[in-house]
Symmetry: C2
Subunit: 394 residues, 2 copies
C-alpha cells in the first residue's frame, strides 16, 4: 500500500486550512504592511515583565510548575481567576466553574466536543471569526448564519432561526466583534440570555477583545445575565498579555464544564502550568490594568488614524466605526472583488483579509477586514495610500 491511499476521517471532507493562516504566509515579504492579522502590536507585548514574572514563579513554585497538574487548573491561577471573573466580567462564581484553556481556541473546541454531533446546528453571526467556523466544521456542525445589525445579531432573525433549526449552540462575539468591530447592545445581550434559557440553547460568548475599549461605555457580558446556566463565557489573555503564551479560560455551569474537562484530558491533559502561573502572577502584581490602559492609548490612535485615512479612499461605500477591538470591516463598491484584488494589493505592499472568508455561506466579495493594531500610525497612513492606489485605480 502507498501512503497516498490513506483514507482520512470524513471531518476533513471539503475542508482546507484556515484561509487567514495561509494569507499570513504571503506576508513574509520584507516591508509588507499588513492589515491582515489579528495580532497585538509588538510594543503591546510585555516581554520584560513576563521575563521577570516567569523567573519569579519558577523560583517560588518551580517544582510544582514543572510537574503534571490537574486538568482543572493550577491552583494559584484558579484563585486569581475566580474574583477576576466575578468582578471584571460579572460571572456568578457561586453558580459557575472556571477552566483554564490553551487559548480560547481550545475553549471553543472543548465546547464543540461536549455538544456537537455531526449534523447538529450552530447559529453564527454573519460574518464571524473564521477560525472558530473551521473548528465547528471539523465537528461536522451545520452553520446557520444570522444577519448582523450595527448593534449585534438581528434578534428577530435569531429567534426565527432558533425555532426553525433547533440549534445546539449560538456562537457570538458580542464585544468589538471579529471581523466587524461591532458591539452588541445591552438590550440584545439580555435578550440573548433570555432566548438561551427559553429554548434551551447553549450560548458561547467569545469575549477576547472585552478590555480593548477606546471610547464609549463598557457593557455587561451576556454571561452576567445568565441565570439558567446556558451561557458559556470564553475569555483569553491573548490580546491583553500575550497570544504566544496560549492561556485562555472558560466559565460555565458545572455539568457542562465537566464534559469540557473530560474532553480536555485527552486534548492536552492540562494547560501548561508555567503559562497559567505567569498570567496569575501578572494579574496578582497589578500589572494587567495599567498595561491595558497603555495599549488602549496606542490602539485608540491607530484606530482613529485608520478611520480618517479610509475616508479618503473612494472605493469604499461603508466602513464600521468600532469603539474598540482590533478590526474594522468595510465594503467596496459593488462589482469590486476584495479576494481578486488581494494579489494586487500584496504586490503593492499592503495586505488585508477578504471579507468573504468570514461569511458562513461565502459571497459578500466586496467586503474586507482591516486590522489596525500591528502598524504604527505613520505606517497605517502609508498602507492606506498603497491600498488607495490599488482600489481607486481599478
Amino acid at each position: 500500500m502507498q501512503v497516498q491511499d490513506i483514507q482520512f476521517a470524513s471531518r476533513f471532507n471539503g475542508l482546507s486550512g484556515s484561509a487567514i493562516r495561509e494569507i499570513f504566509k504571503l506576508l513574509a515579504k520584507p516591508g509588507m504592511i499588513s492589515f491582515a492579522g489579528g495580532n497585538p502590536a509588538f510594543s503591546a507585548l510585555p516581554d520584560e515583565e513576563v521575563a521577570q514574572v516567569a523567573q519569579k514563579v519558577l523560583r517560588d513554585d518551580g517544582k510544582r510548575i514543572l510537574q503534571y497538574g490537574a486538568t482543572e487548573g493550577y491552583p494559584p491561577f484558579l484563585e486569581v481567576m475566580k474574583p477576576y471573573l466575578s468582578e471584571h466580567f460579572g460571572v456568578d462564581m457561586e453558580q459557575n466553574g472556571v477552566l483554564p484553556t490553551t487559548g480560547s481556541t481550545q475553549g471553543m473546541n472543548l465546547l464543540c466536543s461536549a455538544l456537537i454531533d455531526p449534523g447538529d446546528r450552530i447559529i453564527v453571526e454573519d460574518p464571524t471569526f473564521l477560525g472558530n467556523m473551521q473548528c465547528m466544521k471539523l465537528y461536522q456542525a451545520e452553520l446557520v448564519p444570522v444577519s448582523s445589525d450595527e448593534d449585534g445579531m438581528n434578534m428577530e432573525d435569531l429567534e426565527e432561526k432558533i425555532r426553525a433549526c433547533r440549534p445546539k449552540m449560538i456562537y457570538t462575539i458580542p464585544t468589538f466583534q471579529n471581523p466587524t468591530g461591532r458591539t452588541m447592545s445591552l438590550e440584545k445581550r439580555k435578550k440573548v440570555a433570555a432566548l438561551a434559557e427559553r429554548y434551551g440553547v447553549v450560548v458561547a460568548e467569545d469575549d477576547p477583545y472585552h478590555d480593548l475599549r477606546y471610547t464609549g461605555q463598557e457593557l455587561p457580558t451576556i454571561k452576567s445575565f445568565d441565570e439558567a446556566g446556558f451561557v458559556v463565557f470564553l475569555g483569553s489573555f491573548s490580546k491583553v498579555i500575550s497570544p504566544g503564551l496560549r492561556v485562555g479560560f472558560m466559565a460555565a455551569e458545572p455539568g457542562l464544564l465537566r464534559k469540557c474537562v473530560i474532553a480536555k484530558q485527552s486534548s492536552d491533559l492540562h494547560t501548561a502550568l508555567l503559562n497559567q502561573a505567569i498570567c496569575a502572577e501578572y494579574i496578582s502584581q497589578g500589572l494587567l490594568a495599567p498595561h491595558i490602559e497603555a495599549i488602549c492609548r496606542s490602539y485608540s490612535v491607530q484606530l482613529e488614524t485608520m478611520l480618517s485615512g479610509i475616508g479618503q479612499i473612494n472605493a469604499f461605500t461603508w466602513v464600521t466605526r468600532p469603539e474598540g477591538g482590533l478590526f474594522i470591516f468595510a465594503a467596496l463598491k459593488e462589482g469590486l472583488d476584495a479576494l481578486a484584488l488581494l494579489p494586487k494589493a500584496v504586490d503593492a505592499g499592503v495586505a488585508y483579509v477578504p471579507g468573504t472568508h468570514f461569511y458562513a455561506g461565502g459571497g459578500h466579495e466586496n467586503t474586507l477586514r482591516l486590522n489596525f493594531s500591528m502598524a504604527e500610525p505613520e505606517t497605517i497612513r502609508k498602507g492606506l495610500a498603497l491600498l488607495q492606489g490599488v482600489l481607486d485605480n481599478t
Copy 2:
C-alpha cells in the same frame, strides 16, 4: 428549559473521566505513598535550569515568543528538532516533517482527528495506556486489543486482527510500555513497520519513555524502519524535562502531518512558544543528555528497590522486570481483586492503579500497575511493606 436538559454529544455516551485522574484525587491524604502516578520525581524536574533558560529565551527573543506563532512550530524549536529526531530517534527527516504538540497527548488526539470516523477500528496493546484509550473512545473508535508477550505485541494475533478488522490505526508503546514496562523486540519492530506498509495501516508509535533506559541495549524505533510513511512517531519532553511545560512532538509523512496541522489550528492554534523555546534552548545548551543520565541513575536504583521488595510479597504470582521506564506490572493470586483492594491499601497509606483499567475489555482484576519514579528507595520499601500488610493478610 433547565440546564440539566442539555443533550451532550454522543461521544460521551458511556464515558467517564480518566480513572487514573480520579484515583489521583484520593491521594491528597498527607503521607500517602503513591505508586499510582506516572510522574517524574520532583528531584528530576530541572527548575533552576528552566528558570535560567526561560529568562534567556525571553530576553533574546521575547517579542517573537509572546506573539502569535505558526501552527507548524517556533522556528528555533524546529531547527533543534530536525537533527534530534534524525540522530536520536532514527527518523528520516527528508521524508518526514515534525510538528510540535501540546504534550504527546495532543499528538494522539490530532492523529485520531485525522483518521478516525465513528466505528473505525484501532488496534491497541492489551493492556495499554488508558489516557489514550479514552481519547480513542471520544473519537468513537472501536478498540481491538492484541495480546502482549514479554517482547511486545503477539505478531500472529496482530496480523490476524489486521486482516479480520481492517483497522485504521495500530497504537503501540514499544519501549518500556505503559503499564507493563515491557519493550518490543527488534524483530517485532521491523515486523510492525512491514505490516503497516503491507496492509496500509497507520502505526502510532508512542515513545515517551525512550530515554529512560537503566540496563540493556537501546533499540531502534519502529519509525526508523518506516520506508513507506505509515508510521507516526509521537515523542515528548514530559519524562525528560518537564510534563508541566506540555511540549511533545510528532514526526510523520507530510500529507498526514498536514491534516494534523489543520486539526491543531482549531485545537489550540499552536503550542505555546515560550515552552517550545525553553525545550529548544535546553537541548541547544547541551543540558538534556547529562540530565537524562542523572535521572536514570536514580530511577535505576528505585526500580531495583521495587523489584527486590516485591519479591517478598507472597500475594504476587508474577511481575514484569523492565529495563527502563516508570512502571512495573504485576499479578496477584487468582481471586484477589486489585480494584476491590485499593480502598484498603489507600487506608493503609499506599496507592497503585488497578490493572483492569488498562485492558480495553476490562477483566484481569488480579493485576496492578506500580510506579517507582515518585518515591525514594526508603519510601518504596515502606510502601511495599504497607502493601504486603494489605495483600498477604487478605
